[in-house]
């Protein structure tokens, strides 16, 4: 399973016009000047995979994730991210070569999820991804500043990390 595409619409600094990033296996680097939106792209992955803490995406509440119009533009009506998974090897329990997972947050702060454009409860998405993508309890997401936290960690905190993985 790998991600073949991610689409952002109205998500953080990305406007209401859909932004598409086609992806392939291997190593992809996201580059650009300070403040251009790299971490926002990283957070889009976290968001669509079900992140429940707005704080880890640097938002006080979920509706803060919605494009606010920038400099005198219009705010977006909602923030939506879609992740396309290549399922050509049939590893996911979905009868389709591509599995599209979408999440939207509306101005009232409520979130909705879809799998292949069919509305589903969040739990369905979490079950689908299971150990394949979002390795619960693993460290496949390393956000900006996490390495510094690892550096400053006390020996007890470090041992607790191993605890949590056991």
């Amino acid at each position: 399973v790998y991600v073949s595409k991610i689409e952002l619409r109205g998500f953080k600094s990305f406007g209401n016009k859909k932004t598409v990033l086609p992806l392939s296996p291997g190593l992809t680097a996201i580059v650009g000047p300070n403040g251009c939106g790299k971490s926002n792209v990283i957070e889009a992955f976290s968001f669509v995979l079900g992140q429940l803490s707005a704080k880890t995406m640097r938002a006080e509440k979920f509706s803060d994730l919605i494009f606010n119009g920038g400099n005198g533009g219009r705010a977006a009506p909602f923030a939506e991210v879609s992740l396309y998974l290549d399922n050509s090897r049939g590893e996911l329990p979905v009868d389709a070569k591509t599995v599209k997972i979408s999440r939207r947050v509306s101005r009232n702060g409520k979130c909705a999820y879809w799998i292949n454009n069919k509305r589903v409860p969040r739990q369905r998405v979490i079950e689908l991804l299971g150990g394949i993508i979002s390795s619960a309890g693993g460290y496949n997401f390393i956000m900006q500043g996490d390495v510094d936290r690892f550096i400053k960690m006390s020996s007890l905190e470090r041992r607790r990390i191993v605890d949590d993985m056991a």
Partner: protein, 154 residues
């Protein structure tokens, strides 16, 4: 309970040493339980011996050595619970050009098995990538993806 801990600890520990030795050639490092008989009653220390140096507790190392050790620890945790995608944001601060090159090479290697997306400001990581997305913010505060560079087979 302690058995489950020790099983996981051993896996992480072996991976950590292997990874550190690759990132710091000529050096070695290990995870050390403060209380080996009652691991859950103590903490977990990192003892590293960079090439040509005596063993140092991780807090006695230089800024960049601490960063490299932390990255090795994170990679070791990832090996224990492998995922099909890794998403990492700027893990390359504080690393000198040679250490950075080795981290970039390791990212490249492991990306052959697990799709890896990294945000970075630094050249060696950019050059190791198979694909590059440039992000830009326009005068209206809106982000755009401005370049997609497929570097073909590397």
């Amino acid at each position: 309970k302690t058995e489950v801990f020790m099983e996981t600890f051993d896996k992480i520990s072996k991976n950590f040493t292997k990874i550190f030795e690759t990132l710091s050639p000529g050096g070695t490092a290990e995870l050390v339980l403060e209380n080996p008989n009652a691991p859950l009653e103590g903490g977990l220390e990192i003892e590293a011996r960079p090439a040509g140096k005596r063993v140092l507790r991780a807090d006695a190392m230089s800024g960049g050595e601490k960063a490299l050790t932390a990255v090795a620890f994170i990679f070791a945790l990832q090996r224990v619970k492998p995922a099909t995608i890794y998403v990492m944001d700027e893990i390359d601060a504080h690393l000198d050009p040679q250490n950075l090159k080795r981290v970039a090479k390791m990212l490249k290697e492991s990306s052959k098995k697990s799709q890896t997306i990294v945000a970075t400001l630094r050249d060696p990581v950019m050059s190791a990538a198979d694909r590059l997305f440039g992000v830009n913010m326009d005068k209206n505060g809106e982000s755009h993806i401005v370049s997609v560079e497929l570097t073909g087979t590397k």
